[in-house]
Amino acid sequence: MAKYILRRLSFLALTLILTSLLVFAVTQFVPGDVARIVLGREAGEEALEAFREKFGLNDPLPVQYLRWLGNFVTGDWGESISTRSDIYPIVMERLRNSLQLAAITLIISVPLATLLGVIAGLNENRLADNLISVASLSVVGLPEFVTGLILIEVFSRRLNLLPANSSVRQGTPFMDALPMLILPAITATLVLLAYIARLTRAGVVEELKKPYVRTAVLKGLPYRTVIVKHVLRNALLPTITIIAISFGWLISGLIVIENVFNYPGLGRLLVFAIDRRDLPLMQAVTMVTVLGFALANLAADLLYAYLNPRIRLD
């Protein structure tokens, strides 16, 4: 097992190095001169040269890359071009928000989707299965701004239960922020629900056909034991992977939802950075996102290996 973890960790490191190279390369491909972009059209040649000298833009590329990487690892993420403030605290604040929302979403969606998927799978092609499939698929087809607006209309305007605006201020304690998180989390859940439920259903249907289920039934074990102990253990394995991928999406991909609810997450920060051509900020958000994806996948792989003894062979 130790060897397996070590191997996965080395893969993680490789992934991160590769993405950092790509992220760094992007800054080189962007048309125009960075100094010119930063200092503006009126800047003189002297000022530009001084800027380039100051930020090492005249150094060879590998040197620039290593310096950038070194700074990044030590937490020196530079200054935002558009807001002129330190990037690190901004990104961290947004990351915290995104993680909160992701966590709430997973807490709602994973048990619900898994349960629906298992019920559907155990009742393959029967009423319960068809109802669940139709319901979850019709919801997944709706864009997030539609479901989000409907939720706001119902729960906020009509019932007045939850706030429509989720613009959490910096430093708000989690418990105070919680009511603001629920509607965006439900919106994200409606997107994830169908994916996770369908995959779980497929897993259950596939496992139920396997001969070991027959063995378990013919041992005379109670139905519950057969399903919970024998079937689900194997059927839920693929679900773990999709949850990990969802986690990555929840951290950085909720651009629409964050906009609808005015929620200060990483996704909106990325859009902001792109709007302003704020390269250092874009780099930082991208790296954080990739790191989140990679760690979620690592966690999924390890959990998968823990639950699936066949993996550990190699």
Partner: protein
């Protein structure tokens, strides 16, 4: 009621399981088609009954119906299954949960997929014990280890902690047996439990079954297609064909005098150990089993029966009860019993034994051929410069093949026989050694070989289902070798294809068919036809008949022998089945983990001395002849992995005649016996001659089935 008389007998015999007129149907679209019709059987305490039939006969359907596990597509239309005085078919699933495991258990065919991959073996055994026997956590875990010990699993504590994929196939099947017997059921259904095992492992598992069944006085229904297995383990046999019971008799009686033409055909299809093509061709059964819904209304076997008369097509025969406890479903059983008619025609030699002129140059020579491959290394291992683990699939084979000769290559799975064949054909480049073909050096890979060489060196693969392109018609498949290897034009090729189809005994219009429209046997004929298209000097057939039913297998074996007589090509025939190899081959090469152990003329195969491995193989082959008794030699353990080949003689860790350090440390010498056998062993041949008895001995039939 035909079985009334039997009922009375059975009750006094203490019948445990009683199946009455069971009829089972499967759903096809909107129709329900009968898969099994009117099946009746009684099994008493301690009795083992064999249920025999080819694929499609419905034998597994019967087994699953008894277990009440037919699945959604299947339904019992009529009949009763009484176990201990309760009709199982009337019970609810909840009630069945008290029967499953406690009174009725099953051992399935494929142990690996039948075990939960992510639960430890010990727990899979223990959970049933806790549930049925009321044991606590620790007691059940201890008992699980004891059960593993009972089925002779070495190091049972370690196995209990293992996951199923970490133990060998033989061990997995032992675990399944322990699981089935652990809760001490009175009735056991075994569905082809040894079919996927090597012959030596199968023999050991069968011994185990016999012993445990006797000890627990369990009643057993043993479902199998293998008559040799039936002969070894069953008291009675029921023969099933196309869902219809055709014969039921005590084992020895059935083997001595089968009364139904299908039973006769089944028995004659399987070559006996020691039977050779030069004596007689196999009788086999022409045609193939009808699909569900296409079964004839009279006798289901009539279309394939050589004795069928008009009545057989018109009227379904009844289930006749004969005075000596036998049953048969045939209009003409009385004539067959009296010997007036028989499906068995007088022996005809299919091939004249051909003299081997030694003066001719050899067709194929192999000199110290090795095929090693490296396993994939992990990134970490590569960085640490660890050498890759070597798989020594073929480890120094030298062999000479004459023109027109048939060599049989036998060995258990993992012996490297397929890799050797692939090295000869050029699909798996050899890593060392020399080969010549027609006295010309043979390059290792296909791309280096000339068209002329490819033309004369052809291959028939094991599984005809996968060897034919499903999108090409048979004609297109067969045309290819003529056009690419022989340079025929389209018209010439079409003529040649028609001729070829005729030679493999298929009608010419088959050229327009697609593979899925053919039966398994017909597909294998096409694969053979394709290989013979270029009139090769050497044909390699890798397990070419092992995926086929025995009646089809017989026809294919005859076809191979016939074509070979006509064309005078040499044949390298690879099989795990010693009887089949012995039937077809002039010489036999026995292989074990990449090395040859013995090389012998087939005629003297059964005469001692043998290599100890050959001796064990011969003693493990299931024999169907009740007049013959067999030495009892069983091997411990499993075939070693090719990554970790034992030093010295690779067979030494399992050898029952192990001498000592010399076997473990030194490579054995090749010795030649008086009959010309070559044996790779440290034990001097004279000594082997003294200590070994003939593995098979004819004797009086009464002793055969007592043990």
């Amino acid at each position: 009621m035909k079985w009334n008389g039997r009922c009375i007998i059975s009750e006094s015999n203490n019948t445990l399981l009683s199946i009455r007129s069971l009829t089972i149907a499967y759903q096809h679209g909107n129709e329900w088609l009968e898969a099994v019709r009117d099946f009746s059987l009684d099994i008493g305490h301690g009795e083992t009954v064999g249920l025999v039939g080819e694929s499609g006969s419905g034998k597994s359907t019967v087994a699953l119906a008894i277990m009440r596990y037919l699945g959604q597509g299947g339904r019992v239309v009529a009949g009763e299954v009484w176990l201990n005085g309760r009709n199982l078919l009337a019970l609810s699933p909840t009630q069945m949960r008290h029967i499953w495991g406690r009174q009725l258990s099953m051992v399935p065919q494929d142990p690996l997929s039948s075990l939960n991959p992510s639960i430890r073996v010990g727990e899979q055994l223990a959970e049933a014990l806790r549930h049925h026997m009321g044991m606590g956590q620790t007691t059940a875990a201890q008992r699980a280890v004891e059960l593993l010990e009972m089925v002779r699993v070495p190091d049972p504590e370690r196995v209990a902690r293992s996951y199923p994929h970490q133990i060998s196939g033989g061990m997995q099947q032992r675990v399944m047996i322990a699981m089935a017997l652990g809760t001490e059921p009175q009735m056991l259904v075994l569905d082809e439990p040894t079919t996927n095992l090597d012959v030596t492992t199968q023999a050991a598992v069968l011994d185990l079954f016999r012993e445990l069944i006797q000890r627990q006085n369990t009643a057993v229904l043993y479902v199998t297609h293998n008559l040799g297995v039936v002969a070894r383990i069953c008291n009675r046999v029921t023969v099933l064909y196309a869902g219809e019971q055709v014969e039921d008799a005590p084992t020895a009686d059935l083997f001595r005098q089968p009364l139904h033409p299908y039973s006769q055909g089944l028995l004659d299809s399987v070559p006996q150990l020691g039977q050779h093509k030069s004596q007689a061709s196999l009788q086999g059964i022409s045609g193939h089993i009808p699909a569900l819904g296409e079964r004839p209304s009279g006798c289901v076997f009539a279309p394939r029966c050589t004795l069928a008369v008009d009545e057989c097509y018109e009227k379904r025969p009844s289930w006749e009860s004969l005075p000596n406890g036998r049953f048969v479903r045939c209009h003409r059983w009385a004539e067959i019993a009296s010997g007036d008619i028989s499906t068995r025609h007088p022996a005809q030699a299919s091939t004249p034994p051909k003299p081997q002129p030694q003066s001719q140059p050899p067709l194929l020579t192999l000199d110290n051929v090795q095929v090693h491959f490296g396993l994939g290394r992990s990134l970490a291992d590569t960085l640490a410069r660890k050498p890759p683990a070597k798989v020594r699939a073929v480890d120094g084979i030298s062999l000479t093949m004459q023109q027109g000769e048939t060599i049989g290559l036998v060995g258990e799975s993992g012996s490297g026989k397929t890799t050797l064949a692939r090295a000869i054909i050029g699909l798996e480049p050899r890593t060392n050694g020399q080969m010549t073909f027609c006295q010309i050096p043979l390059p290792p890979t296909l791309s280096e070989r000339t068209l002329e060489t490819l033309r004369h060196l052809q291959y028939v693969f094991q599984n005809p289902e996968e060897a034919l392109n499903p999108y090409l018609t048979i004609g297109e498949t067969l045309r290819r070798p003529f056009i690419t290897l022989l340079g025929y034009n389209r018209q010439q090729a079409d003529t040649a294809v028609r001729h070829l189809l005729q030679q493999v005994k298929l009608p010419p219009h088959y050229a327009d068919r697609l593979p899925h429209q053919l039966s398994g046997g017909e597909k294998q004929r096409i694969a053979i036809a394709r290989a013979f298209a270029t009139n090769p000097d050497l044909l390699i057939a890798d397990e070419a008949v092992s995926a086929l039913d025995v009646s089809v297998q017989a026809a294919i074996l005859n076809l191979l022998a016939e074509l070979q007589t006509e064309r005078q090509n040499a044949l390298l025939f690879i099989s795990h089945d010693l009887a089949v190899v012995g039937y077809l081959a002039d010489r036999i090469a026995v292989m074990y983990v990449g090395k040859l152990m013995e090389l012998t003329e087939t005629a003297v195969l059964l005469e001692p001395p043998y290599h100890p491995y050959t001796e064990a193989l011969l003693s493990a082959v299931p024999i169907t002849n009740p007049e013959v008794s067999q030495e009892h030699i069983r091997l411990e353990g499993d075939v070693p992995s090719q990554t970790n080949v034992p030093s010295g003689c690779p067979f030494h860790p399992r050898c029952p005649r192990y001498l000592g350090d010399i076997c473990a440390n030194q490579t054995p010498p090749w010795q030649t016996t008086r009959q010309g056998k070559q044996i790779f062993c440290h034990i001097p041949v004279d000594e082997l001659q003294q200590i070994q008895k003939p593995v098979l001995r004819e004797h009086h039939a009464s002793e055969a089935h007592n043990g």
